[in-house]
Subunit: 305 residues, 2 copies
């Protein structure tokens, strides 16, 4: 099965420490690399975990609080110094471009590779990327500044055809290609329907990333039935007032959302530094949603449905 | 003896790795903290080495290449989140302020503490700080963009008075205070000269920090007789042409400068990532200047003359 996996590079909120880094995740879909958020030290984390960061094609930045992007300028600079030439696309709110450009400009740095910016628009859910591997939807969430969640929905893979049917129909190369793409073919006046030749299509895998936000109904629909849901869980249940004040969620709220939206697995992250032990965050969430895990850095979550 | 020491937080050039971080040093002079440069991950390094970074009063940024300041915005943000209220002074070229402010502004962050900016002016050597502990001189060096070295010259400490002379002259509290500051006192028509009461003044300790630069005569005078000289040494002797091209120095050039300027000890840093082993850099430099050490992160160099 082609890989569809999420590696946690950092999952602490606000402040980095030697053992807990700010938010960043690497998504590997069919050997194509997508980076979500890029807190300070992300490039060092990727080296530590042996991730070839020049392979990243798209970077998605949820919002412009520092713990989600202060490591980006360093990563872009290192990609340049190590000779990158292939383009990179950054999906973020508009001001990021200015922040990057001013820093390149004072250093007299002209990057060897082009950066394409795709601006996320306020309060609008939209498909921001569709390629051979994935469709990515950005969905506005409810934080103190404009902020977006991202839903990664695997592209429909080519269908598998039944070998006996290929043989009995004596299908040609071009005909097979069309059918694998899910398209019926014509032969004279006759139509060969896909359903009569192909195995049922594989279910498209789905990963949803939601941070930083208060719980909000606006994003429930788009994350429905995710195989894996990462939801911020800055606080535990007893700090729900603090969560409201700071536009964050608790572990119990995250678990409730996973239940409501029928997700298969929940990963909690964006932990407040007030929690020196993380296990209780998971244990408490499991009282609401059993299949809950912690976003411990270095962990890879594989989706293998 | 009051401390006068330099702790290396990072000394790699250009690109950070898990074991070699970009430039940053903490200077402790009489328990007052001064930070020089602040590459990505500096705040994490300080936590790792148990340095209380809220004690930092002044930050000096040599120049605006990323490996010397990309960690600054994160440090400033963390100081804020942890409740700092006391002022901080940043000595840097002018554009740094704009880079910091745009990032605070997009995050809607209003710092709890004031930052005072002291702009370093192009091509001008000047005293940029004089307080009870130290005098700091900024000296322009020769790099691809405006860049400054810094010389830390310990303030004259109060003189030690000879106890027997205090007794025999029956000196009062105010008289002792004046004499300790190196000022003669008057009693009626009579003058009591400092030299007749005080021990010879302690020699003022001196630390010079020179990076990134080609070797240049312009800064030789100001670093003369340093107890400790940190000089960049991006390359080894056989890469001197590459050093010229990139406006950097070799270890042999750094050692020659230490000799010429009569410094007591040389510390080499800003190592190119091409060198996986650092010992040979030191060994080669010692053929020119014997008392040479490497700026290995985590090392503290104490000046105890």
């Amino acid at each position: 099965m082609t890989p569809f996996e999420v590696t946690i590079l950092g999952s602490n909120s606000a402040v980095p420490t030697p053992s807990r880094h700010p938010t960043s995740q690497l998504i590997n879909i069919n050997h194509h690399y997508y980076l979500i958020d890029c807190g300070e030290g992300t490039q060092i984390q990727m080296r530590k975990f042996g991730i070839k960061f020049q392979r990243i094609e798209h970077i998605f930045i949820s919002h412009l609080h520092g713990d989600h992007y202060f490591g980006l300028i360093g990563l872009l600079n290192t990609m340049h110094l190590l000779g990158r030439e292939k383009p990179l696309t950054i999906h973020a709110t508009k001001m990021l471009r200015e922040i990057i450009n001013i820093q390149l400009s004072v250093a007299n740095t002209k990057l060897n590779y082009p950066i394409h910016y795709n601006y996320l628009e306020d309060n609008k859910e939209s498909v921001i990327l569709r390629d051979a591997n994935v469709e990515v939807i950005a969905t506005p969430v409810d934080h103190r500044i404009p902020c977006f969640g991202f839903v990664f929905h695997e592209a429909q893979r080519p269908l598998k055809l039944n070998k006996e049917r290929i043989h009995s129909l004596q299908l040609g190369v071009e005909e097979i290609k069309e059918l694998k793409q899910g398209r019926d073919i014509k032969r004279g006046g006759e139509t060969i329907f896909v359903e009569t030749v192909a195995e049922p299509p594989a279910i498209r895998r789905k990963y949803s990333f939601i941070t930083d936000t208060k719980p909000n109904d606006s994003y429930l629909k788009v994350i429905e039935n995710s195989d894996l849901l990462y939801h911020e869980s800055t606080f535990m249940g007893d700090a729900s007032l603090r969560a409201i004040d700071t536009f964050h969620s608790t572990n119990l709220q995250a678990a409730t959302i996973a239940t409501k939206t029928n997700c298969k697995k929940l990963v909690l992250g964006h932990f407040s530094t007030r929690y020196t032990k993380l296990e209780p965050i998971k244990e408490e969430a499991r009282t609401v949603f059993e299949n809950t895990e912690l976003a411990i850095e270095g962990t890879t979550f594989k989706i293998e449905n």
